[in-house]
Every structure is written in C-alpha cells, then in structure tokens.
C-alpha cells in the first residue's frame, strides 16, 4: 500500500511550485494541486514510480496547462490584479513590472496554443528545468525524441509569435 500521506508531505512543495508558476493564482493552484496528487495515485496503481518528483512535475504541468487553456477564453472573469503583482519580480519598477507581467501572459497565451505534448515538454524543460533524460523517462519518449519535440516547439512558437505580431499580438524578436 502506498504511504500516501508521506508522499503528499514529501512532494507537496514541488507540485505547488509547478502549478502556481503556470497558473499564477491561489485558487486554481490549490485545485490543480489536488488533481495532480489524485492523478498520481492512479498512475502509481498501474506503474512502478521511479521518481515521484519527476512524475508529479509531469502531472502537475499537464493539469496546470489544461486549466490555463480552460480559463484563457474566460480570463476576463477569472484573473485579478493580484496575479499581476505575483508575477512581478521582487522589487521592480513600474516599467519592469509591466514588462514582466506581459512576458508571463505572453508565455501562457502561446504555450496553450501548442499541442498538448509539446506544451508539456516545453514547460518541463524551461519552467521545471528538467533534463531531457528526466522528461523522456516520465513522458515515455526517447531522449532524442524530446530534443526533436523541443526543436519543433520552438519553430511552432516562432510561427505563433509571427502570426500574433501580424494581427494584434506580439513582437517577434528575430
């Protein structure tokens, strides 16, 4: 029997950090936190867990991205001013704060337009800073496939930025 309480206690910090960074608000992060652990329990029933932190990071990222997608179109009602504050760096000036908030929003807007797998791998690599090997093991890919996937994700993001920049969106830095 899995020592569930110990697992939650030992890994709550990594899950909380992952979901909060991607979601940026307390309520969504709390919901996602629970969903992640319950999903993990289901996974642990079917597979041997080699690394709880890595597996939980993967699940947390996937759940958080689902939630970001859900709220993206309804963001007018779900976000609040505190989100902007929480997204800012510790002691920013007004311009820096606005720029950071813009970057965070841009990241979320773009990442949720990616296919699920690409978005997940991209966040695991660049937000959770997992290695190719760790990602490959948890996602069930070869290490080389992770590299290919990330390369294509970069290309896709560039397309999205160019597309958004041409219509109403974002500046594309060559």
């Amino acid at each position: 029997m899995t020592d569930w309480q110990s697992i939650v206690a030992a890994h709550s910090a990594v899950v909380w950090r992952t979901v909060y960074r991607l979601l940026g608000n307390h309520q969504d992060a709390a919901d996602c936190f629970q969903e992640t652990f319950l999903s993990a329990l289901g996974v642990a029933r079917r597979h041997t867990v080699r690394s709880w932190p890595a597996m939980l990071s993967c699940l947390a990222t996937a759940r958080a991205l689902d939630r970001v997608r859900q709220r993206m179109r309804d963001s007018a009602r779900s976000a609040d001013v505190a989100e902007l504050a929480s997204a800012a760096s510790p002691e920013p000036g007004p311009e820096q704060e606005a720029e950071t908030a813009e970057l965070v929003r841009m990241f979320r807007e773009l990442v949720v337009q990616l296919p699920d797998r690409q978005a997940q791998v991209f966040c695991l690599r660049y937000v959770s800073e997992m290695s190719y090997r760790e990602i490959a093991r948890e996602i069930g890919l070869k290490t080389s496939d992770v590299g290919v996937l990330l390369h294509r994700t970069h290309a896709r993001l560039r397309e999205l930025m160019e597309s958004a920049g041409g219509q109403c969106g974002l500046e594309v830095t060559p």
């Binding site: 709550s12 307390h26 859900q70 963001s75 660049y126 590299g147």
Partner: protein, 641 residues
C-alpha cells in the same frame, strides 16, 4: 536553448520561473488531498474489478483492429520499400548492403473514435523474408506481437497479456512479390533515383539533420538524414491521406538480430488458439473488386481516400465486430476469429494485388459512391495485356486503351492527398467543461466547453455580444473538433466545414440581420486625448493583458483594434468607437477585477480620459435558431457530397 529560439520566449520562460511562489499549499488543501487519496485507495479494489471487466470487452473489440493495424504496418513496410527513403548518394551504398533493419513506427490515426488513435510499432526486418512487429495501442493494455515469414507463408500473432498465440496461414506469396522481397536492396537502389525536394535543416537527436520530401502516390514523405555524412537515417515521416501520420524513428541499418526474434514457434506458456487462414496466393482481379467493395461498404458506401483501411473504416469495423450480448466467451472468440479472417483476407489480398500491380495502378476512388457506374475508381494494366482495366463505382470493369486514360483522368473527382481538397472532419459532442477554449494547430481546431451561442459566434467569425438567440438553444456546453489531414487547410475551409456541422449535428441555423440593440459608446469628450501616445517606434502591433484585471499594454494599435473588443468582452455588450480619434497608439490601461459598468467606465475615464456611454444602435448581428433536434454527434465531412 536553440539559436533559432526567439529571445522573447527565453525571457518569458525565465519570467515564469521567477514568479514568486507564496508558501503553500494551504493546510486545508493539504489535508483534503490526503483525505481524498485515502478514500481513493479504499475504493480502488472495486475500481479494479470494474476496470477488468471493461478491459475484457475492449480487448475483444480491439482484437480485430489489431489485425488491421498489422495490415497498416505492412502498408508502412510497403511504403518504405516503395519510397525513396534514401534519395541521397551518401546513404545509397549503405542501403544496398542492408540485410537487417530495426525501427520504431508511430502511427497517429486522426479520427478513430473521434480521438487520435496512437499506435506504436517496434519493427525488425531480416531480409528478405522475416518481419517482426511489436504493436502497442495507446489506451490498451500491453502489446501484441506479429511475426511474419513470407517465404513460409506463415505468421504468428502473440498476445503476451492473455498468453495466447494465433497462427496465420498466408499461403505461398506470389512469385513476383517474393522476387521483390528477395531483391529488397535492388528495389531500394532503384528508388533512390527518384526526385526529392530539399526541405531544410533541423537538429534531430542532437544531430544536424538535412531533410528531403518525396511525394509518392499521394503520400508525402519527409526523410531526415545526418547532414554531416548522410550515413544515418534519423527520421522518416509520412502523411498518409485518410490514414494519419506515420513517424519512423530509431532506424538502425544492419544491426545484429537474434534469430529467435523471428521464430514462429508458440512460446512456452502460451495457449495456441485456432489458426486463421488468410491466403495471399492465386490473386485475380476479383480480389481487387472484392477488396474495393469491402472498403466502400465499410465506409458508408463511399470509396475511401486511399485503397486501404482508413481510420473511419477501422471505426466502422470495430462497431460491427462488437460481441453480441449473451454469447459465451468461446462463441465471442469464434466470431472474432471469423471476422479477423475475413478482414485479413479481403484487405490482405487487395494490398498484395496492388503491390504486384503498383507500376500501372492508379486510384481515383476518393468520394465516389458505391454503385456509381459513371465514376472511375481505379485502373491498372495487367501484366502482358495490351489494354488497361478500369473499375467503376458500380464495380464493373472495362477495357480501355492507354490513349483513353487522359479522359478517365479528367473525369476523376477531386482527390485526397496533401495538396488536394480533403474535406475536414468535424465532430460535436457534449462537453464536461464549462469554460470555453479554442485551440488551433496544423491539424485543425479544438473548441472545448463552448455554449451553443458562443459556438455560433466563433464559427461565424463574430462576437458573442453581436450574436442573438432566436428562441431556445441547446443547453449545456460542447466540444467541437475540426480535423484535417492537410497541414495547410485554409481558415475558410475549416470554417465552412464547422458551419455545416453546426447545422447538421447540432441543428443550428445562423443568419445575418441588422438589428437595434443596447451598446456602449466610447467617446472622447474633448475630441483629443493625452493618455493615448501616438506610436513612435516600430511597426509591429502588440497587445497583451487587460482582460483580467491586468494592465493592458498596447503598442501601435488603433482604438477599434485593441480597446473596444477588450471592453466589449468585459461588459458583455458591443462597444462602438465614437471617439473620432484616428491613428495607432501606445498606451496602458489597468482594468479592475470588478466587472461592473461603473468600475470599468471609471478605469477608462481615469486611465485614458475616454467616456463609456450606454446607448442603442442598429448593428449587423448573427441570429441563431435551433430546430430542436438532439445532438447528433460524430464526424461529418464538410464539402464532399
């Protein structure tokens, strides 16, 4: 990160990483999570029993599909043989000496059961006769192993999960086919002479790779080899119209392979089931006709996009082979075996017939109705014959001179393929989600959790604020998946298919009208505005934030481009620009979390010195009407009759 990566993305990822994370989770969340986990564990045994029952049904249903997947694997093998996989001088020598090969084949079926069906095959070849496939289907337990010995005309199907083995008697393969397999390297050698277009360079497996695209019989194949020496084939990808995407990786040429991998002996501990006879010998034109009929009958009496098992056909076959209630396990197994044998025979004989006649065979059946005597489905020239044979939609066959082929060609309906008019498939289904999202990618649209009204607005390119329900609309939320096998389907094509599905599946009729309605007017009391700074640098338009209490940062955009749509979304009514202020501006606006008109109007007044005024105006709107029909879920093709 890659040198090609936009700097902004790198900065954005860092900004997300640097978000200060408050202490958490709150104790009550932690406690609830622990409690929920314990409750879950307490129920797990009941769940396991229930799941086992479901899996047994799934395994029975999928048994037939697995054989078809095996057929697809064979199709992929055939494509590999017939595609100039190595249209590069650097790898030609390597291919000519090829005796063994291993690779991993990933099939992504776009529309099976309304969701992508992912199939992973680990394939090993020992030329000229032996092939082994280890097949895993996403969502299904375990793997299935098929081992073929084409010289012996036998194959074995192993199910490690159930520890069962089924022998398949293929008969003696036609001599021409055996000759091809014996001269596998020669076939490859001939094929590398075909033209391939350079498509660029990428980093694959941490190796600089150069890619080439080959269009061969409607299948676009991208082949990536190492750019330095061309000694390693790194990746092969194929877009097969109607059958999805094939991705071949982990390609090893001439690896050492243990002979036991290709053993047809029933492994110890396995139970041998009744064998299947799938004879692939003594092929005639009747096999072509019977195979085409089988495909059309299982494709809603229409010939499919390609003469093979498409995802739609696989879905239909799966439905037809579901075990009837009340049958014993033995009876179910017997029925499934009979179904497998029929499918395997029909499709297997058709595919081998096509392979034997691949030099002259042309398929033109995409979209032709079964029974249509006027439309050609395919034609080929039998070995040694003077005339071509043309099969029509009613499956009649006629002789035709080669000189007449252009007429036949001209009478073909628009065909599938990467650059042709393949209609997008659209499915509408009830959604468990209650907030809408709209994602787009190269494969189409995914709209989730949308109401009927918002669906109409999105699909008809309007806003919810300008969309009006004429009477009751279907309750609840819906998911809409618009899927295309083409990478560059135009927005208009996807939109047309979605609009048709909205009518056929959901019973919605959308019309345009002009109507008086409540709006807000955005006005500039003084006729000028200091908060809106004319853009000074750069021509790129940017806007971000502003829809959820965050600062809306706008660069180089007019009021109607950026501000009025944002305010309309917040206020739930159309907002019309009556400021009279022209030009593109830079500005920031902090919108309040409070979504009331008063709060938003104050923010606009304080931040931009503009006024929001309630009014009524006559506007172009969408009128949405429902005919009362229940949701008719499932895929629908957009434009093809």
């Amino acid at each position: 990160m890659s040198k090609l990566e936009p700097k902004k993305i790198r900065l954005a990822a860092k900004a997300v990483r640097d978000i200060p994370v408050p202490a958490g989770p709150p104790p009550e969340v932690l406690a609830a999570t622990v409690a929920a986990g314990k409750a879950f564990e307490a129920d797990i045994h009941a769940l396991i029993v229930q799941r086992r029952r479901c899996l047994m049904k799934s395994i029975a249903r999928m048994a037939a599909a697995i054989l078809l997947v095996s057929g697809l694997g064979l199709g992929a093998y055939t494509l590999l043989v017939h595609s100039p996989t190595v249209a590069f001088a650097q790898v030609r020598d390597l291919i000519q000496q090829m005796q063994t090969m291993t690779c991993r084949v990933h099939l992504s079926q776009p529309a099976a059961e309304g969701r992508p069906m992912e199939v992973d095959i680990r394939a090993s070849y020992s030329l000229p006769y032996l092939m082994r496939q280890e097949i895993a289907i996403a969502g299904m337990p375990g793997t299935l192993i098929n081992i073929y010995d084409f010289q012996a005309g036998k194959a074995i199907n192993l199910n490690p999960n159930g520890k069962t083995a089924v022998m398949m008697n293929l008969g003696q393969l036609p001599p021409e086919l055996l000759k091809n397999t014996q001269n596998f390297a020669e076939v490859m050698k001939a094929l590398v002479q075909k033209d391939a277009a350079l498509i660029g360079q990428e980093v694959i497996d941490e190796t600089e790779a150069v890619g080439f695209r080959v269009n061969n019989e409607g299948v676009a194949t991208d082949i990536w080899v190492d750019a330095a020496k061309g000694e390693t084939v790194l990746l092969v990808e194929m877009d097969m119209p109607g059958q999805g995407h094939v991705r071949i990786t982990d390609i090893a040429i001439n690896p050492l392979l243990d002979a036991s991998l290709f053993s047809l002996a029933v492994p110890a501990g396995y139970r041998e089931m009744p064998s299947l006879d799938i004879p692939l010998e003594n092929l005639t034109e009747d096999d072509l006709v019977a195979g085409l009929r089988f495909l059309a009958e299982n494709n809603d009496n229409t010939f499919p996009v390609a003469p093979n098992v498409t995802s739609k056909i696989m879905r239909n076959l799966g439905k037809n082979m579901q075990p009837a209630a009340g049958l014993s396990d033995d009876e179910v197994a017997k029925n499934i075996a009979a179904g497998q044998a029929e499918i395997g025979t029909r499709i297997g004989r058709l595919r081998v017939f096509l392979q034997l006649n691949s030099g002259t065979f042309r398929y033109a059946g995409d979209g032709v109705r079964l029974g249509d005597a006027s439309a050609p489905v395919c034609w080929y020239k039998p070995k040694g014959a003077a005339l071509y044979r043309v099969v029509h939609g009613d499956l009649s066959v006629a002789d035709i001179a080669e000189a007449e082929l252009p007429k036949i060609e001209a009478s073909r309906p628009p065909q599938g393929g990467p650059d042709a008019q393949a209609a997008p498939a659209v499915s509408i289904s009830p959604s468990a989600k209650t907030t809408g999202s709209w994602n787009t990618d190269n494969n189409g649209w995914d709209i989730e959790g949308a109401t009927a009204l918002s669906l109409a607005a999105m699909i008809y390119g309007s806003s919810e604020q300008r969309t009006i329900a004429d009477g009751a609309l279907p309750q609840g939320h819906f998911d809409v998946h618009v899927q295309t096998s083409r990478k560059k389907e135009s927005f208009q094509e996807l939109q047309a298919a979605a609009q048709q599905a909205l009518n056929q599946q959901l019973g919605l009729t959308v019309s345009r009208a002009r109507q008086k309605m409540s709006v807000y007017l955005l006005q500039a009391p003084n006729g000028k505005n200091d908060a809106l700074r004319p853009t000074t640098g750069g021509s790129t338009k940017r806007c971000s934030g502003g829809t959820g209490g965050q600062a809306r940062i706008v660069h180089n955009m007019s009021i109607s481009e950026a501000l009025t749509p944002c305010l309309a979304g917040r206020l739930g009514r159309p907002v019309l620009d009556e400021t009279g202020i022209k030009g593109d501006f830079d500005y920031q606006l902090a919108l309040p979390a409070d979504g009331s008109f008063a709060a938003i109007a104050k923010a606009v007044r304080d931040g931009l010195s503009l006024e929001l005024v309630p009014a009524e105006r006559e506007l172009d709107v969408l009128i949405v009407k429902w005919n009362g029909q229940p949701l008719n879920p499932g895929p629908a093709n957009g434009s093809r009759p």
